[in-house]
């Protein structure tokens, strides 16, 4: 399993565009918002948590279709399905690789973009914490969507349509953490909810994703 993870990471880094693209998209999105709503701190500060989370979510979406597509095309997914490790494990690992190549760079970049959007200083910690807790769920749900649409020729748009509604609870609790943190409130409740969602997603969604993959490999 570790070999598989290493292989996926190596493929993602060497193919190019894995690490950089999502962060670049995130940057563009955060840079576009002030042009849209105006540069005043009073306008940007209240919407900064939401913009940062929506931006992270959309950047995450960009690279989802690559989770299984390449392996599906060259047939290595069939080999993985017949390999001794369970397909559920494979999907979880693929999601983990996606998180390391997309989620982690986003989290690292988010504080800088927070400054661009005038996010209050004391909220930066909560921003990082909420993204750390929430983005694994995004990757795992994305892997599920990718598993469903892997056999389709133009699955990209459909993938977004299927996955985005699944992201709503994560988005709600993620932004709530930052908002409460920024106002100096107590964000424990949303943190627990978000952690619960992520834990549940990590535990259950690999089974759904593996079931979808089996159908597509039939």
């Amino acid at each position: 399993m570790i070999v598989l993870l290493k292989r996926d990471l190596a493929l993602a880094t060497r193919a190019g565009g894995g690490f950089g693209l999502a962060v670049a998209f995130f940057l563009i999105l955060c840079a576009m918002v002030p042009f849209g709503v105006g540069p005043e701190t009073s306008a940007l500060r209240p919407i900064a948590p939401g913009i940062l989370w929506v931006g992270a979510l959309l950047s995450c979406l960009l690279s989802l279709d690559r989770i299984f597509a390449l392996d599906y095309e060259d047939g290595s997914l069939d080999l993985l399905a017949t390999a001794p490790i369970p397909l559920e494990g494979v999907t979880a690992l693929k999601a983990l690789a996606h998180w390391i190549t997309t989620g982690l760079p986003l989290i690292a970049a988010a504080p800088v973009f927070g400054i661009l959007l005038h996010l209050p200083g004391q909220a930066t910690g909560w921003l990082i914490a909420s993204l750390l807790i929430g983005t694994p769920a995004l990757s795992m749900l994305g892997a599920f969507g990718a598993a469903i649409t892997v056999g389709l020729r133009r699955g990209g748009l459909l993938l977004s349509l299927l996955v985005l509604p699944l992201y709503i609870p994560t988005l709600i609790f993620g932004t709530e953490i930052i908002r409460r943190g920024a106002e100096g409130g107590d964000p424990t409740t949303p943190i627990l909810f978000l952690a619960g969602i992520t834990a549940g997603v990590m535990a259950l969604v690999p089974f759904a994703a593996a079931a979808a993959l089996r159908v597509n490999l039939r």
């Binding site: 469903i148 459909l158 349509l161 299927l162 509604p165 709503i168 609870p169 709600i172 909810f193 159908v215």
Partner: protein, 241 residues
């Protein structure tokens, strides 16, 4: 004699064909009767004549949720017991459910404009219905995107299961996110919160009417799907011959 016998398409076609005309009549009588009766009710002391949209709004909203539950059950039956009729019924129900959700949202907006002074408010109930509509759209889009019929049934079934969990999760997450403007349950049994009887009985009738209407639409659409499936099988056989 068990209910699973109707999973046989031939038997399903025979029974549904016999029942359908009666269902159509019953649905027409209840829906038209319920709404017409609703129009004859006296005006509400606070809301005036706008209250009469309730006879469309509440049944549509109720069916929007119930149809998703029916799709969930049908998907489970397909995934567990592999009855084709079940998968086709789920497929047939989805557009009906999406339209019911749209009706609920649209009538709600029309009602909300004079009463709340706004077409749209990010109220938990309204937001949940919008999310439900997104789930319906995704489900329908997935059905139409996959060519192989059995894979499509499998994948949409899995999507329906995961979607149900997340639709429910979103419902409560949204409750956490914003407190609402919408009233509570329309048919609460608690005294004092109940609707007046003048409104309640026509409402029951139109709810029954919408339920029957849904049954009619699903049966017709399922029969169409079965016929389409048969046609495809015949054409495939002809191609081979």
């Amino acid at each position: 004699m068990s209910i699973w016998e109707y999973a046989n398409p031939v038997k399903f076609m025979r029974v549904s064909g016999a029942v359908l005309p009666w269902l159509v009549i019953a649905a027409a009588v209840c829906t038209i009767g319920g709404i017409a009766w609703g129009f004859l009710t006296p005006e509400d002391y606070k809301q005036g004549s706008t209250v009469k949209i309730v006879f469309l709004h509440v049944p549509a909203a109720m069916m929007a949720i119930n149809i998703w539950v029916m799709m969930l059950i049908a998907s489970l039956i397909w995934l567990i017991r592999r009855h084709h009729v079940s998968a086709l019924a789920a497929k047939a129900a989805a557009p009906v459910g999406a339209v019911m959700t749209l009706i609920a949202l649209a009538t709600g907006a029309i009602w909300g404009q004079p009463m709340w002074g706004t077409w749209w408010e990010w109220d938990p109930r309204l937001t949940s219905f919008l999310i439900l509509l997104l789930f319906y759209i995704g489900y329908i889009a997935l059905w139409s995107a996959i060519e192989d019929a059995d894979s499509a049934a499998d994948l949409t079934g899995v999507l329906c299961l995961v979607g149900s969990v997340f639709a429910l999760l979103s419902r409560y997450a949204v409750l956490f996110w914003n407190q609402g403007l919408h009233q509570g349950a329309s048919l609460s049994v608690a005294p004092g919160e109940r609707m007046s009887e003048v409104y309640r009985y026509p409402l029951y009738l139109s709810m029954l009417g919408f339920l029957l209407l849904f049954l009619v639409l699903v049966l017709v659409r399922t029969r169409t799907e079965i016929r389409r499936r048969r046609l495809a099988a015949l054409q495939a056989r002809e191609m081979r011959a």
